[in-house]
């Protein structure tokens, strides 16, 4: 097949470092691509051409002044709109924050810019990262670049679509229950959720603080590793960021998986999985096996309880985190403020939040309320412990654990919006990595035909906490042997 691939982040960086191209040229290229395809995709909520070019110019000036090129020198990158960029509108795709302009940068933004990356804009997502289809954005859904009538997944749908449509080579998203991996799977790109604590959450608009983690989208495992190396590491502004040293992630990509033990939770992945997804998953396992990896059976007995445990824990945390949106300090304030303080709080929130956010705040408030706390929230936290122990035990027998990313291929826009529970159930294979805090990655593993559309499928690997090197090595080795196209043909 014709090579549609635009340059990788690593190639751009090396070319910019060698002064073969300028950061401004690469930025202009990205801006032109965005301008061409954004009207049909709606992947970007904000692109400020002058601001982006000014950022690129700064990178070129630093290089001209003799500064050593950073790891992402001149690489255009898109940022999910729940990450604060100083001076750049950050809405979390919510009406309640429609005019919010952060006075500070998230730690990941500081690190990207220190490494020479060029922020070109903010990407669409589900409101406050709550959703699996990007249909909960207050600013309209993102369309899947592979099939415009279908969802790109969520919540980081805009970041996934931007990379799949080659608008940018890299994007950041956040993953609370699969919000990087599932859209990566749906859009046919690589999506990496690092170990909880690997990346500082400072400047990420909080949804569920014990689960949220920032990570990269890319068109190769190598580029994802490159980006993670830049954003990872301890941060004094986030007490939950880990002091574990960050190893050389690029050096880990040896292509060698001989003897690597790939755990397969056969019982867990045998039910409720689309036939096409199952076939692609089995084929991916066979590829790893043919390269010398050893497939071993593992059990995750509590994984089937992941969805209910997840939705009780994350909504409880969300109900607390979102209490800050009250019309006082930032964001939308209702006209009903004239009726007093309580009316201002209540009406600002009711008018500012969308349906899914309200639903989750309600659920979280309920499970934390007197009389229900023990039966729901505490119980979910105990099951979370059992699930973590399942992973610990599984990692005694295996070095990585394989699962499909999503049990179903990308579905149609509007197909599941009336039934939140059905939408939640499709998160079955992603939520457990967040509950257990382990790193996990989705890599493209083929396509299925549905309704005349050629739809990408993702293969998920999870690793031991802070063992991103082994996880990335396995994913990269698989990618080298398969090389599925990661750029959607222009529609």
């Amino acid at each position: 097949m014709a090579d549609l691939s635009p340059a990788s982040a690593r190639t751009i960086r090396n070319d910019v470092a060698a002064r073969k191209v300028s950061a401004v040229e690469m930025c202009r290229d990205a801006l032109a691509r965005i301008q061409a395809s954004n009207p049909r995709l709606n992947s970007f909520l904000l692109v400020d051409v002058e601001d982006a070019l000014a950022r690129a110019r700064k990178v070129d000036e630093r290089l001209a002044a003799g500064e050593a090129p950073g790891a992402l020198a001149g690489v255009p990158i898109a940022i999910k709109d729940n990450l604060c960029v100083r001076g750049m509108k950050t809405t979390a795709a919510s009406k309640i924050l429609a005019t919010y302009v952060p006075p500070y940068d998230a730690t990941v933004i500081e690190r990207l810019e220190a490494a020479g990356a060029v922020i070109v804009g903010k990407t669409n997502c589900d409101e406050f990262a709550m959703g699996s289809s990007n249909e909960n954005s207050a600013f309209g859904p993102v369309r899947n670049p592979w099939a415009l009538s279908r969802t790109p997944g969520g919540s980081s749908g805009g970041s996934a679509a931007a990379v799949a449509a080659a608008q940018v080579p890299l994007a950041l998203g956040s993953d609370t229950g699969g919000s990087i991996r599932q859209p990566a799977s749906f859009c046919g790109v690589v999506g990496l959720k690092p170990t909880y604590g690997r990346v500082s959450r400072y400047g990420l608009l909080a949804f569920a603080s014990s689960l949220d983690q920032i990570g990269p989208f890319a068109r190769s495992v190598d580029d994802a590793a490159l980006a993670l190396g830049v954003i990872a590491g301890p941060d004094r502004a986030d007490a939950t960021s880990s002091r574990e040293p960050v190893p050389d992630l690029t050096a880990a990509l040896t292509g060698d998986v001989k003897g690597l033990r790939v755990g397969v939770p056969r019982t867990f992945v045998s039910e409720g999985v689309d036939d096409g997804v199952k076939a692609a998953f089995d084929a991916a396992l066979a590829v790893l096996e043919s390269a010398g990896a050893r497939l071993v059976d593992v059990e995750l007995p509590h994984a089937p309880y992941g969805v209910p445990a997840y939705y009780l824990v994350c909504t409880a945390e969300a109900s607390s985190n979102l209490a800050r949106y009250d019309g006082v300090k930032y964001g939308y304030r209702s006209k009903a403020a004239a009726d007093g303080l309580q009316a201002m709080y209540t009406h600002s929130r009711s008018e500012g939040f969308g349906a899914e956010v309200k639903r989750r705040i309600m659920l979280g408030t309920y499970v934390l309320s007197a009389g229900y706390y023990d039966a729901f929230y505490l119980k979910a936290q105990q099951v979370r412990t059992l699930l973590r122990r399942d992973y610990d035990r599984a990692f005694d027998a295996a070095d990585v654990i394989a699962m499909p990313t999503s049990p179903i291929p990308p579905f149609g826009l509007g197909e599941k919006t009336d039934d939140p529970l059905q939408m939640y159930l499709a998160d079955i294979f992603t939520v457990s990595a967040n509950l257990a805090g382990v790193p996990a990655i989705s890599v493209p593993c083929g396509f299925v035909e549905r309704g005349g559309d050629r739809l990408p499928i993702g293969f998920q690997l999870a690793g031991r906490p802070f063992d991103e090197p082994t996880l990335l090595r396995a994913a990269d080795a698989y990618e080298r042997l398969t090389r599925w196209p990661t750029v959607a043909p222009p529609s």
């Binding site: 919010y100 604590g197 004094r236 930032y330 309580q342 209540t346 105990q382 412990t385």
Partner: protein
């Protein structure tokens, strides 16, 4: 499990500082009941003596030096407020006392 009554929904909404329309009350009541019903399966898991995980890393009491560092100015801090006395660096809210 019995469905949530409208009164249940109203009680939760009040706790969450949300004012729902009649349609939202009916819809959310049904949807939340479906979700809670589904979550009932957690009751079949034996969790006797199992500690709760509030957080995956057992880090507690992370400390740092109590050193001065730059922070937002009062003007920056109130710049996003829908109604601020920006010059004074103050947020403004509707009158609470003696209205």
């Amino acid at each position: 499990m019995s469905a949530l009554t409208i009164a249940d929904v109203e009680r939760i909404a009040a706790l969450a500082h949300l004012d729902l329309t009649a349609d939202e009350k009916a819809r959310f009541g049904k949807q939340l009941a479906d979700i809670l019903d589904y979550a009932q399966q957690l009751q079949t898991v034996n969790t006797e003596g199992v500690p709760a995980t509030a957080h995956v890393h057992a880090v507690a009491g992370v400390e740092r030096d109590d050193a001065l560092r730059p922070s937002l100015t009062p003007q920056q801090a109130v710049a996003n407020a829908p109604d601020a006395a920006a010059d004074a660096g103050l947020f403004r809210v509707p009158r609470v006392i003696g209205g």
